[in-house]
């Protein structure tokens, strides 16, 4: 398979915060057109991984390639759905405004949002089932509706690789179902989605590929092959205490020099 066709390859990626590594030597390839779940305990570095892929935080070493290119050359082919809590929902804008933000890079600097863009945004809201709430201020949406708004924003971006940070966190059952349907639809159109996920029970139902992360990649591959009890044990069975200790020793030594 050529490098150009691989949506996401990560080589030896290490991200450290104040010398303390958050993810360590992470390495995997994502096959095109797959629905990928990233699972791991709290503090395993799942969000950090996505952010480092998009250069939102600096990495200490390693390399990320998206369709065979560095991120900044292909960012229009990547859509990002951040955690719902990462933004201020009291911001004075409505759902349609939020969705239209997905089109800003197509519109370009300084040009206003025009009618066709608003129509595209409305169409995306219709696809996630909340077109009737388009003109509602975003603080008046429920958690599930806010998550759908974010998803609609990713849809209008019309990307080929989607990176989603816990889209299923604290949403109602109907929203969860709606998100799953959209993910399936994207997959059927050849798009790749990489989704941070918390509910282990639904992993085999929702995803066909899984990356099991706990500071380093414990296992990655098709769900039916790697999503085993043994691997789950390794992923969730405690942090890598020795790695923690050595990084603590590094910090101590630096302080005493």
């Amino acid at each position: 398979m050529s490098k150009e066709s691989i949506p996401l390859s990560v080589y030896d990626l290490t991200v450290a915060y104040h010398r303390k590594p958050v993810i360590w030597d992470v390495q995997f390839n994502i096959p095109p057109g797959s629905l990928v779940g990233i699972v791991g305990p709290n503090g395993a570095g799942k969000s950090t991984l996505l952010k480092a892929v998009m250069d939102l935080i600096p990495s200490a070493s390693g390399r990320v390639e998206i369709f065979g290119h560095p991120y900044r050359d292909v960012r229009h082919r990547v859509g990002y759905v951040p955690q719902r809590e990462s933004v201020d929902w009291d911001f004075p804008i409505n759902a349609l405004d939020v969705v239209a933000m997905g089109l800003y890079s197509k519109i370009g600097w300084c040009l206003p949002v025009r009618k066709k863009h608003r129509q595209a945004a409305l169409e995306a809201l219709r696809r996630v089932g909340i077109a009737d709430l388009a003109y509602r201020q975003i603080s008046q949406l429920s958690g599930g509706q806010q998550q759908r708004t974010f998803l609609a924003r990713a849809l209008v971006q019309d990307a080929e690789l989607y990176l989603m940070d816990e889209p299923f966190a604290a949403v109602d059952a109907a929203t969860e179902q709606a998100i799953v349907e959209i993910l399936q639809d994207m997959k059927s159109r050849g798009r790749t989605s990489v989704v941070i996920h918390h509910d282990l029970q639904t992993v085999p139902d929702y995803f066909d590929y899984v990356v099991m992360l706990n500071m380093r990649v414990v296992a990655h591959g098709p769900v039916e092959e790697v999503f085993t009890n043994d691997n789950l044990q390794k992923t969730y069975g405690g942090r890598l205490t020795l790695l923690d200790e050595v990084s603590e020793a590094m910090r101590r030594q630096e302080r005493t020099l």
């Binding site: 229009h76 951040p82 911001f91 004075p92 800003y104 890079s105 519109i107 300084c110 040009l111």
Partner: protein, 441 residues
Amino acid sequence: MWVALRWDWNLDGWIITVGVLSAVAAALLGNFLVLRRMSLLGDAISHAVLPGLAAAFMITSSRNSLPMFLGAVIVGVLTAFFTEWIRSVGDVDEGASMGVVFTSLFALGLVMIVQAADHVDLDPSCVLYGAIEMTPLDKISVAGFAVPRAALSLGIVALANLAFVTLFMKELKLSSFDPALATTTGFNATLMHYLLMILVAVTAVASFESVGNILVVAMFVVPPAAAYMLTDRLTTMILISVIIAASSAVLGHIAALTVPGWFGYRSTTTAGMMAVVAGLILLFAVAFAPRHGIVVKRVRHHLLGLSILADDVVALLYRMDERGESLRLNANQLATVFLVDRFSIRAVLRWLRLRDQIERSSDGYNLTNEGRTRAQGLIRSHRLWEQYLVTLAGIDADRIHDKAESLEHFTDAELRSRLDQETNAPTVDPHGRPIPNEERS
């Protein structure tokens, strides 16, 4: 007192113009400071420009405005930069690092100015309060018109800010709301941040000698904060903040001339009064804002209480009819039953009579047909909820009444029909009382 007021367009007109221009210039940018929850950065920058002014003066040893302007703007932007830097390196919160940076710079500036003051009149108090009253005296000629220097420079800054906000509206919106998305889609949020900071510094410096530090800090924060209370659309918010800023400048100057007169004093500082007026407008917005205002919330809460009381009254009359009681209650007895004051019960009874839902008989109140329909809906909701709570939520039958009592007021016909479906269309509630049919209207 208006008679005593000596109004001179050539003087007061220019003072107001300078005040409006500076207030509007600050308020335009302030919207984004408030929305990014960094209102204090305006404060920090406008204090920290002081060493820039002093350094420029020491280097060029002249009061030429261009180097001083540049020096101040550079230090102002450095404030934003140092704040961010100390926050990330020192791992402290933004407030703490801002506090460290701007107090140090301000102190440094004061020391430098005192040093320089031996040679020139750079007055520290003038920096704080400004000298807006003096601005009409320092005029320069523009296309044949004599225009105060301050009005010209603030006019240019206000126009520049307006152009910035209009041109980069979309980018400012995105990078303020979701900086991560902005950066990943190619609108560098850090770049937008520093562009905004440069203009904040420019505005602060331009306002410096004319209106002083305090007013510009107030205008960065107060009009946008008031506008934020009044609307939930960004463009409307910016528009309202500009109107509030301009009117507090106008009203502030008038108040500065008149208000002290009421107490037998002479006029007070205009810049201070402008900030006070803006504060009063904010207070007004906090109280009376249509959605979030304290007074409005109170009133709405009270009205809801009354409408629930009206529900309770018709439901009680219905239940009494159902039990075949011939006893009729008067207003005072109803007030005792519902534990409310007589004023509320009388208001509710009058309102119900006005809407033809109850009528007065010789010994108390009766339901009309209209009132019976309303009561029937409520009783139906109540008993369907009881059924639902027992059969589907598994709550004991003796603990459901109060829950159903609070839910019935918020249950419309559509929700009732869904309750009816989920409970398999019962005819009696868990206590064995009949559930009335849905009244078709």
